[in-house]
Amino acid sequence: MVQYQPLDRTFSALADPTRRDILRRLSTGPASISELARPTGISLPGVMKHVRILEEARLVTTQKRGRTRECRLGPGDMGDVTRWIEASRQRWERRLDRLEAIIEQEQDRPGGR
């Protein structure tokens, strides 16, 4: 049985360019909320909201360190998303293969083009 809830959360977390930028930044190492905010020009509360969504999807973990909060990549590995896309792609390709076969049959029929 496919677990849709985590999948929904992961897709929804990834469906935003700022959050994808945050993930890209964190792939180079941990950063505080302020360090994540600085290059984007987004307010601290704005970045905190984005980070919270990434945290709920387990793509990011955070830890309070004194006045700042350290963010790093989380344990969510996007494996469920990758598997969903791959399964959908295979189904799609099988449909296209069948369509191609039908077209070829039509063409081979007497009177066919």
Binding site: I33, S34, L44, P45, M48, Q63, K64, G66, R67, R69
Partner: protein, 150 residues
């Protein structure tokens, strides 16, 4: 060179409620992150009067905590707070001393809270505090919403 911090935040609650929650003794622990994973915050004393001192200790679990001390010089409910603020950092032994003014203005049926903190000697302290206070005010917003909804 001294650095200054300024944060504004709009709350969907009247100034009296925002002011009271900002100084509320039981709220202080939560505002300082008591419910955050791996973080400890303990309210030692709360005395929100002119000349009164409030103290909260906080830090990562299992480590020596930092100590926040507020000494109030203006307590004008629900408009304004002025205080001497110090944060004694356990790890480095340094103390960050500043002056903090918080105003609560009625705005658009809610409250505009403005925090101005002056006297930071290091820019990085100002930036760290800006992040810390922003999170503090986020939590204040959640507390006010919870109180409003009940």
């Amino acid at each position: 060179m001294a650095y200054e911090m300024r944060i504004e935040r709009q709350f969907d609650a009247p100034p009296e409620m925002v002011f009271d929650t900002f100084v509320d003794e039981t709220a202080q622990g939560v505002l300082h992150g008591a419910e955050q994973k791996g973080w400890h915050a303990e309210v030692i004393q709360t005395d929100v009067r002119v000349g009164g001192t409030s103290i909260v200790r906080m830090g990562p679990e299992g480590r020596e905590p930092d100590t926040e001390t507020r000494v109030y010089s203006v307590v004008d409910r629900p408009h304004r707070l002025e205080l001497r603020y110090s944060m004694a950092l356990a790890e480095s032994g340094l103390t960050i001393d500043t002056e903090l003014t918080i105003t609560f203005e009625e705005r658009d049926g809610g409250t505009l809270l403005t925090m101005v903190e002056t006297g930071f000697e290091r820019e990085e302290d100002r930036d760290g505090f800006t992040e810390g206070w922003t999170e503090y005010l986020e939590t204040l917003g959640q507390l006010l919403k919870a109180r409003h909804d009940t």
